[in-house]
Amino acid sequence: MAASAAASPRPEPVDVPPAEPVAAGVAPAQPVAGEPDAPGPADPASVGVGGAGDGAAGGGAGRRGVDEGDPESGVAGEESAARDVAAAEPGAGPGPVGMRLRRPVTLVLLAALGFAGVVAARSADPSFSLATASPDELAASLGAIGAQDHALATQEGRLRREADRAVTPGAPGTPGASSAAGGASGLAAERAQADELAILAGTVPVAGSGLELTIRDLHRAVDASVLVDALQELRDAGAEAIEIAGVRAVVSTYVADEPGHGLIVDGTSVAPPYVLRVVGDAHTLDQALRIPGGVLDTVAARDGAQAGVRTSGHLEIRALRPAPSPRYARPAG
């Protein structure tokens, strides 16, 4: 306050922003209103404020300053020193009762501002608000989070079902997908997938079109490599289930030579003739076996061996495998 009172008398064109016409029109009137006994004709509003000489007139000018809040009001700084001193401390000097009551209200408002600022800053800090929240507030917030969680879980389930529907029909690694077409709902899709996996794992008997390949071997000239080639050829041709000499062929199936006797398929000794029963597209499988240099040619080239193919519209494979029970591998994700 003292600084402003000392500084104000000096005219300062540099410090004071350029006055707009409205503000400039007011400024000349203010020194008149600031004179101790002048009625302040130029500014009726200032007379109405308190009607008490300097303080009231200064207050009238102050209304413009506070209300407009514009830099242009800075022109008031050119007023006289006497008026500034009087107006700077309106509550300090003698005045009407209403005037004395306003200062405490001002102070209360400022205190409220500081208080509200702290409260606002505190409520903007989530950790602090949780730390100081009452049990009721915590319960309410927990309930809100729980509801949000539930809504998100519902949304997740819906999106997952949509994703499954979108992925299952054309998923890679589901050969044929003959039973997957009907998987409209999630349960049906799961069942179809379980069926496919059971067929792949050889845990269920299967029936369908296919062929029967019989390899006769009078002189034990057919070795394991012939059967392995036949197995691969049949798989390439889309075989969905294969039985080799009464053994269900699965992903881990192996064929080994057993000198002097025949072959070993998955630990089981088998003797010729070897009968391979295959479920799949009969025509495709047949063609795959008959390609030049293929399985039939290879067998025919062996001494005393011959192969015969009989396609069938309905062929059953009843040989089963126990369900694999992995000890280490677990589904991820």
Binding site: M1, P17, G58, D67, A76, R102, G114
Partner: protein, 110 residues
């Protein structure tokens, strides 16, 4: 000096009592605080200009806060709540800067 003490008193009271604003007040409190800061800075400016009046300050303080809160309330009602409170904060922020410029010129003459 006494008004400054009142402000500090409010801050200290807020820190000591540590109240939490009720949930319904959440959208309005920040805007109200910004409006009040604007009014307080305007008062400081009129103080250095020698035109301060308690009545003016009280009226402008209360009306600023009320108008700001009402604007945010209106924004909530017509469905642009966040946008309108941003608008209020931006406009008040501009005013605060303008007022701060005048204050700076009056106090340190730069």
């Amino acid at each position: 000096m006494i008004p400054l003490l009142a402000l500090v008193l409010g801050v200290v009271a807020g820190l000591l009592l540590g109240p939490t604003a009720p949930d319904w007040l959440d959208p309005y409190l920040p805007v109200a605080v910004v409006a009040a800061v604007d009014a307080a800075l305007g008062a400081a400016r009129s103080l250095v200009e020698g035109t301060f009046d308690d009545r003016e300050f009280i009226v402008s303080f209360v009306s600023n806060v009320v108008i700001a809160v009402l604007l945010v309330l209106l924004g909530d009602l017509i469905g642009v709540g966040g946008a309108l409170s941003t608008a209020v904060v931006v406009v008040l922020g501009i005013r605060i800067f303008a007022t701060a410029t005048v204050l700076r010129r009056a106090l340190i003459r730069i």
